[in-house]
């Protein structure tokens, strides 16, 4: 079983569009949506939810006003500016529990928070593990780890060949959680200065965690000079460029129709994504 995670650094470069298409192209796989705070893959896969679970993680301080003597020690020790007027703000609270440890009256308890929900679903392309982080919640990295663990257990138990996961943008906690230990990271970029800048940073993260990376340049024809510069950068850094996908409104049309683009159309975009899948299966086997 091989695990392929799709990342990008910069948001909106086409991660989910590509994962949706790989879902249709790969024969034996479990799909995982690791972008738990803005998950979109379900919009392409029309999942039927089979299992639904609470994600309880992290804690938040709750101050019992009856026991509180307003000594102010909790406010003094809190480094996250989460306690004002002897009331703890659950959004600002990072759950460290320092306040509860020092409160001389024992007036503060740390209460487990319902930080989201996670699901195992069935789609016409195979099983999907996905999640929904609660609004403004923390611990997205832990929820991503949970989604991956579930996907891996299912893939091993039922003998699937691949896990294909749709990752979050950025380079921080949920990205690291999506990436570490995967067999291949497919990095989707676009030929803009921002896309290139962000690609270099996420490539650095792949190197840091020892995960092989491959690059797909989406909308490569909106700026061919930048595409050439990205290809040159990849060549110098020994990173394979596995696709140059042209800009085409058919991608948005497919999205509005709620279908993976490879099922919606048989043009140049589809041809390039098919080629991409063929190459990355070989890279992931390595």
């Amino acid at each position: 079983m091989r695990e392929i995670v799709v990342l990008s650094g910069k948001g909106g470069t086409g991660k989910t569009t590509i994962v949706g298409s790989l879902a249709a192209l790969a024969e034996s796989k479990v799909l995982a949506d690791c972008d738990v705070d803005a998950a979109d893959l379900h919009l392409l896969l029309a999942p039927k939810i089979k299992e639904e679970h609470d994600f309880r993680s992290g804690r938040a301080a709750v101050i019992d006003a009856d026991k509180c003597t307003q000594c102010g020690l909790c406010q003094e020790v809190c480094r996250f500016d989460a306690i004002h007027d002897y009331v703890a703000d659950p959004v600002a609270c990072e759950g460290c529990g320092f306040c509860a440890q020092v409160c001389p009256e024992g007036a503060i308890t740390m209460q487990e928070r319902l930080a989201g929900r996670w699901f195992i679903s069935e789609t016409k392309y195979g099983p999907l593990v996905h999640a929904r982080l609660g609004i403004a919640e923390e611990n997205s990295g832990k929820l991503v780890a949970l989604v991956r663990r579930q996907a891996r257990e299912m893939a091993e138990r039922d003998g699937y060949d691949y896990i294909i996961s749709d990752g979050p943008p950025g380079i921080g906690c949920p990205v690291i959680s999506s990436l570490s230990g995967a067999h291949l990271a497919l990095l989707v970029t676009e030929p803009t200065l921002s896309g290139r800048h962000d690609l270099e940073r996420v490539l650095g993260v792949c190197r840091h965690f020892g995960v092989t990376a491959a690059v797909a340049i989406n909308k490569y024809d909106i700026n061919e000079a930048n595409t050439a510069a990205i290809e040159d950068y990849c060549r110098r850094n020994d990173v394979a460029v596995v696709a140059r996908i042209p800009f085409d409104n058919v991608v948005t049309e497919a999205l509005v129709a709620g279908q993976p683009v490879v099922e919606y159309d048989d043009g140049a975009v589809t041809g390039e994504i098919k080629k991409l899948w063929d190459i990355i299966t070989r890279l992931a086997a390595g």
């Binding site: 909106g12 470069t13 999205l255």
Partner: protein, 281 residues
């Protein structure tokens, strides 16, 4: 006035809007642009600031004095992040897991723990024309963006018109970036992905009780469901930017709308007038 720019979905045009708004207003206002997307900061590509100051962002992490330590295990017990582990006669620390809360050093009965700085990123400040600029960069391999975001936010000068560019999503880094702002612009595109993530962003902004309005970018693609949603939810669409390959071309070269298409300066000034009006109401 503090205006934050957020989106839910990535790549909808936050950076384009934040930088173009800042440049369009700089002649008539004292503008400060703060890029709080510390994982992937891009504003500098468009603003091309002269950086005059660079400071490391450090999280205070435990440093254990083995001579004083009795290996009682209190530090590991109080740490909510498993950043310390006591093994037989040694204390292991994992600085990348530490949130810097300070509980371990305060509660160590032997006074054996002090705090040492652990670099997680950098904050840079400078100027571009009339604009004051600041951004943060999370170090590669580091997980926690909020400490870097907090340091960028600490640059906020309330005497100025402050524009904050947030990261995509709806979780802790975005909350950290937008909280405390007087108004939040949500940039979206009229596609099913854009709409799905806009609804999440609106939930987040409402939870923070910040008034918000929408900038609809790439209008003309997708369907009309985003407009329907905004109408239904009473969220004003303050500006519409059409799908235009010329704009995409400018963006790809790191050129803002206010520079590449100067007619947009007027549109961004009007956008600001609408924000002022909405923030007052």
């Amino acid at each position: 006035m503090i205006i934050s720019v957020a989106s839910g979905k990535g790549g909808t045009g936050k950076t384009l809007v934040a930088t173009s708004l800042a440049l369009s207003l700089q002649d008539n206002h004292d503008v400060q642009l703060l890029d709080c997307d510390v994982e992937e900061p891009n504003d500098h590509i468009f603003i091309k600031p002269v950086i005059t100051r660079s400071e490391a962002v450090a999280v205070p992490v435990p440093a254990v004095d083995e001579k004083k330590c009795t290996h009682c295990g209190k530090c590991a017990e109080v740490c909510a992040y498993n950043a310390l582990a006591v093994v037989k006669d040694y204390v292991l620390t994992f600085p990348e897991l530490c949130h810097g809360c300070g509980a371990c050093s305060y509660l160590c009965p032997e006074g054996a723990i002090t705090e040492a700085p652990y670099n997680v990123g950098v904050v840079e400040t400078g100027r571009a024309g009339n604009l004051t600029f600041g951004h943060g960069k999370l170090n590669i391999g580091q997980a926690m963006a909020p400490p870097v975001i907090r340091r960028v936010k600490a640059l906020t000068d309330p005497s100025k018109l402050v524009i904050i560019d947030a990261s995509p999503g709806t979780s802790c880094p975005v909350v950290e970036a937008v909280k405390g702002s007087d108004y939040c612009l949500l940039v979206t595109e009229p596609t099913p992905f854009g709409l799905n993530d806009l609804t999440l962003a609106v939930e987040m902004i409402r939870k923070l009780a910040i008034p918000c309005g929408v900038v609809l970018n790439r209008a003309g693609v997708g369907d009309g469901k985003t407009e329907e949603y905004c109408l239904r939810e009473g969220i004003p669409i303050l500006m519409t930017i059409p799908l235009d390959t010329a704009i995409a071309g400018l963006y790809s070269r790191g050129i803002t709308l206010s520079e590449g298409m100067p007619a947009y300066r007027v549109a961004f000034r009007e956008l600001y007038a609408r924000i002022e009006e909405a923030a007052r109401a």
